[in-house]
């Protein structure tokens, strides 16, 4: 069945009401598998190519977050879960391309936290920004003892020369030495020093 949006002209069809409000619609198969998007109208954006890859976050995780967000007795249809899954990928791409653009404008290659927050603000998600900043702070605190964070002035070579005796618990070596934290990337950035950080003692 052709989901051609050219038939959405209300004056041609003489149809009023909710179906025409959105300006375009798709035909839904009788058996309602819910997730099939038959709307193939191209908007000309390059993003269309990347959407074909269909990378989604796991539906179980998405569904769990949804479930916790709505009232406990509420029900969520299966096609709603699948749909939100797709919306999520769209959201991530939406934010990322905005952040990426800003990054390029400033001649940088790596998208950083500021770019993301700025993109949120620009795209109408500024209500997320403050909570996100708080979460980021918690995240940094939780991670600051981890390998790979260069928040204190310890070079890589020092990390190998110094013995265990001269360290306190929290030693960032600047080297990822085991696979414990698979998503940690080594990078340097200027952290604000959090007062409660245990200082490294060099004897």
């Amino acid at each position: 069945m052709d989901g051609d949006s050219s038939t959405t002209d209300a004056s041609q069809l003489g149809i009023t009401g909710e179906y025409m409000a959105s300006g375009h619609y798709v035909l839904q198969p009788q058996d309602d598998d819910g997730e099939e998007n038959m709307n193939d109208h191209e908007d000309g954006g390059t993003k269309e190519n990347y959407r074909e890859q269909d990378i989604y976050l796991p539906i179980a995780n998405v569904a769990r977050i949804m479930k916790n967000a709505v009232p406990q007795t509420g029900k969520i249809a299966k096609d709603a879960k699948e749909c939100v899954q797709e919306c999520v990928s769209e959201f991530i791409s939406f934010i990322t391309s905005e952040a990426s653009e800003r990054c390029h404008q400033e001649k940088r290659k790596t998208i950083n936290g500021e770019d993301i927050l700025f993109a949120m603000s620009t795209l109408g998600f500024d209500m997320y920004v403050d909570p996100l900043k708080l979460y980021l702070q918690k995240f940094r605190e939780a991670m600051k003892g981890e390998k790979g964070i260069a928040g204190v002035a310890v070079g890589e070579s020092l990390g190998e020369d110094l013995t265990e005796d001269s360290f306190t618990n929290q030693l960032p070596t600047g080297i990822i030495t085991d696979g414990q934290q698979q998503n940690v990337m080594v990078y340097t950035t200027s952290y604000q020093q959090i007062p409660t950080v245990q200082q490294i003692q060099f004897s």
Binding site: Y19, L57, A69, S93, T96, I116, Y128, A142, Q182
Partner: protein
């Protein structure tokens, strides 16, 4: 040298508790955008966390905003309606077109033809 210090391990798990979505998958989706070369750790964390907030936001708004077809539930049409009516979620309208059943569409067409023949 790997320091297997219990203090450090609990810090790692503390950090992991902050998010409930897989960052590796989030990174994959981010990388599928054109011209994205690298993403720093903060950016990845923020995006992942923002995505959680987004899911909550979208789900709850749609749930409350529902088409009225069924109270206390969330289905596809609630989401489509929300995308249509809420500015923040307007970017989703392309992937959330409103659906109509084929038979309803055909019925409408028939009605239209009937009307045409009534002079």
């Amino acid at each position: 040298m790997a320091q297997t210090n219990p203090g450090k391990d609990s810090q790692a798990s503390e950090a992991k508790k902050l998010i409930s979505l897989p960052t590796s998958r989030v990174r994959l989706i981010m990388k599928s955008s054109p011209d994205v070369s690298s993403i720093n750790q903060d950016a990845l964390f923020l995006t992942t966390k923002a995505t959680e907030l987004f899911v909550q936001h979208l789900a709850l708004t749609s749930f409350n905003n529902g088409s009225g077809r069924e109270a206390n539930s969330l289905d596809y049409s609630d989401l489509a309606k929300t995308a249509e009516e809420t500015d923040t979620f307007h970017f989703l309208t392309d992937i959330l077109p409103k659906k109509i059943l084929a038979r309803d569409y055909l019925e409408s067409l028939e009605q239209l033809q009937d009307e045409d023949t009534d002079f």
